[in-house]
């Protein structure tokens, strides 16, 4: 089957060209096809931006075990509605993804649905207990692209060191959710002005920074690729910049909520603004934006963390951390383009090109002949209210529910198939 995308403004990380994209099967055949090229399906993109499918390195699809919040199918539906064609689910499923069977289960379930590719992140330690290493070699063979104990960070430096040494041998990165649990204590929001005002217990930025510093030094010690999750503080960014300047193998990611919102959201005790790491101060948010502008931050991810409405409708302290985000990644990132913080090429680099490189998938992240036909046609000007009708996730725990957004995926194409069209 051949599909022709006519009148595209094709955006890659390094250039923007105008042309017609011919897809043959699951592969891009040409980006300079003739406008009247014979194809089974023709989409006229009308000069709109066309970008490589977004790759979200940090999601929670809750499958297996917590399917009442999300499952791989609903997560994938939300993903393609947000222009995401590949996602990396974290290992904190039930049971934990600490073995090849679960890794392959995730991959195969997504494959069967045919909406997105799933590249699981395996657990660093068995049961995320922080003690014994998982079978990282076997899991990598099964398709895991990195290892992380996510929200239960490895607190023992030696275990983290051995994990770095072992994972890197199989070409997988170690992904660090940097948080010193002992310093976080019973904290529920950023320890800033709003914590002082609201009486909500604080989590200081240093809680993240102290672990970022350790994990950078473990990368130095072992040479392993350490990827720092969802950075949220100015200090963390400074540490990552230092690590990079020293030539250590360290990269990092930021979420849209950390470059869009601040602790001020918590003045109303809104549990849909409760996440970990927490929304921080204005200067931290400004630093995230600066980091994206300067290229110090490698990629944008969502930390898509669905929770059932009943779980969020609780006392603030009891409500779980996390917000959904896979469907708002696009508009919130495009807002940076609107504000001239980054340009469209940067947008592609941050959401697709670099993520593909970080997980060693050279078949994607670019619109070029021979690459996988994972493509998104954007309408960067489209304004809409993000409501429960548009929402494809099983959960609605996002501060953007009912809010006006700008920019959306008109068509999402996965391996040559149109898997999403923006509802008319």
């Amino acid at each position: 089957m051949k599909t022709l995308l006519k009148n595209c403004k094709i955006v890659n990380h390094n250039n923007i060209t105008e042309g017609n994209i011919l897809i043959d099967g699951d592969t891009i055949a040409s980006v300079s096809a003739k406008a009247d090229e014979k194809a089974d399906k023709v989409i006229d993109c009308g000069g709109k931006y066309v970008v490589p499918g977004l790759i979200d390195l940090h999601v929670h699809f809750r499958d297996p075990g917590l399917e009442y919040k999300e499952d791989i199918t609903s997560g994938a539906k939300a993903a393609v509605a947000g222009g995401v064609t590949a996602a990396c689910p974290m290992a904190n499923t039930k049971p934990v993804n600490d073995n090849r069977v679960i890794t392959e289960y995730m991959i195969n379930k997504a494959k069967k649905d045919g909406l997105i590719d799933v590249f699981p992140i395996g657990a660093v330690t068995k049961g995320m207990e922080g003690e014994e290493l998982t079978e990282m070699g076997d899991m990598t063979d099964g398709g895991a692209i990195g290892f992380s104990d996510d929200g239960k960070p490895v607190m023992t430096a030696e275990v983290f060191r051995r994990a770095c040494e072992y994972a890197s041998q199989f070409g997988a990165m170690v992904i660090s959710h940097a948080e010193d649990k002992s310093l976080a204590g019973a904290g529920v929001i950023h320890e800033g002005e709003v914590a002082a005002i609201t009486g909500l217990k604080g989590i200081p930025s240093e809680c993240e920074e102290v672990m970022v510093a350790r994990d950078i030094l473990m990368s130095k010690l072992t040479g392993a690729h350490v990827h720092i999750c969802h950075i949220s503080s100015k200090g963390t960014l400074e540490l990552v910049k230092w690590a990079k300047s020293m030539g250590y193998n360290v990269t990092c990611e930021v979420t849209p909520h950390h470059f869009t919102l601040t602790e001020k959201e918590l003045l109303t005790y809104d549990t849909n603004a409760k996440m970990n790491p927490p929304l921080r101060a204005q200067e931290d948010m400004d630093a995230m934006i600066e980091g994206l502008k300067n290229g110090d931050i490698d990629c944008i991810v969502t930390d898509h963390a669905p929770h059932h409405p009943d779980e969020k409708a609780q006392e603030f302290d009891l409500a779980p951390f996390g917000i959904t985000g896979i469907q708002t990644l696009l508009p919130l990132s495009l807002a940076l383009v609107d504000k001239d913080v980054i340009d469209m090429k940067d947008f592609v680099r941050l959401t697709s090109y670099t993520p593909a490189r970080l997980i060693n998938k050279s078949d994607r992240g670019e619109i070029a002949p021979g690459k996988l036909a994972d493509i998104v046609v954007l309408d960067t000007e489209l304004e809409y209210v993000f409501d429960e009708k548009l929402n494809r996730s099983k959960s609605v725990n996002t501060p953007w529910m009912g809010k006006k957004l700008k920019g959306a995926a008109l068509y999402t194409i996965k391996s040559g198939n149109v898997v999403f069209e923006f509802p008319k």
Binding site: E191, A196, D310, Q314
Partner: protein, 316 residues
């Protein structure tokens, strides 16, 4: 009517006029408490449920007496904050109570923001009897009433709050309310118990006990809650008493007629020495008496029923 809100959730958003109205109303009620027959029919036929998700005897008793003196039917409902383990959410509990058609909930909860959360999800009037570390508005009102009775005008008074500021809902309510009436507040305590971003309070934070006490008109000593904070924040009660406790000597640095207050219960010999607590400068028991009057005022203002519909969601 100078108070049009549906609820009394905290002092943070109240105007000077609203605070004064509450204080003036409370002052009127103090007289009832001195009568031989301490009961007026004002809230006859009204139902007040004391919804306590955190153990409390004094505050609950104070509210219960306040309700009874106004002839309201007061019912105590004590629930564990972890009622979710029993399968019932906080809102389910509240809605069950609401179905019995009470007029006022008096709510205490161990988590900050939870009383506001309840108030936003019920049509019943809500009085905050303490939520987590956030606010305890009736305590701030009784503090101010006690000060006003002793000192007259509040404007320009020097008031010190000493102790665990970070974990004190009493401190927060005082901090929002007192400066609004012209009080100059200063704070002091172990640095482990002063919020990192205390600048949002707009109060002077003192370096030592001398500075905190010097020239003060009123000294509010906070209870050190060792059962909650463990030993990490203060190494020992002995050390606390030495550096942060109010002794006769330290009190001598304050104004001659300085008033000493404490929200209770007192740890004698720790934050407050017995010869200070029992001296004629102590306003501690007066505070307890005023607590009933203040709570009568709160129940009265919300309970007479003219506030429904006038609730401004943005105002609290």
């Amino acid at each position: 009517m100078a108070y049009k809100r549906k609820d009394l959730l905290g002092m943070k958003d109240l105007t000077k006029e609203e605070i004064l109205y509450l204080l003036d109303t409370a002052q009127k009620f103090t007289e009832i408490n001195e009568r031989d027959v301490k009961k007026v029919p004002t809230l006859k036929g009204k139902t007040v449920i004391n919804l306590f998700f955190e153990p409390s005897t004094r505050t609950r008793t104070s509210f219960e007496i306040a309700g009874k003196r106004l002839s309201a039917d007061t019912i105590n409902f004590t629930a564990s904050a972890s009622s979710t383990t029993k399968g019932e959410t906080l809102l389910d509990t509240v809605h069950n109570m609401e179905a019995m058609r009470p007029d006022i909930f008096v709510v205490r909860h161990q988590f900050s923001g939870s009383v506001k959360y309840i108030a936003e999800n019920t049509d019943v009037h809500v009085v905050n009897a303490g939520d987590g570390l956030n606010e305890h508005p009736t305590q701030a009102l009784l503090d101010m009433l006690t000060i006003r009775q002793a000192k007259g005008d509040l404007n320009g008074l020097e008031v010190a709050i000493i102790g665990d500021i970070t974990h004190s809902r009493v401190a927060r309510s005082d901090i929002w309310a007192m400066p609004r009436l012209g009080i100059n507040l200063r704070l002091f305590g172990p640095s482990t118990m002063i919020p990192k971003h205390h600048e949002v309070f707009g109060c002077r934070v003192c370096k030592n006990m001398q500075e905190a006490v010097e020239g003060a008109d009123v000294i509010i000593m906070l209870r050190i809650q060792r059962e909650r904070q463990g030993k990490l924040l203060v190494p020992s009660t002995k050390e606390y008493a030495k550096f942060f406790g109010l002794t006769k000597d330290k009190l001598a640095l304050a104004k001659k007629d300085a008033l000493v207050m404490h929200p209770g219960p007192i740890n004698r010999g720790v934050e407050l020495m017995s010869n200070v607590a029992d001296s004629d400068q102590s306003g501690v028991l007066k505070q307890v008496s005023n607590g009933v009057a203040v709570r009568m005022a709160a129940l009265y203002i919300l309970g007479i029923g003219s506030n429904k519909g006038g609730y401004d969601e943005n105002a609290s």
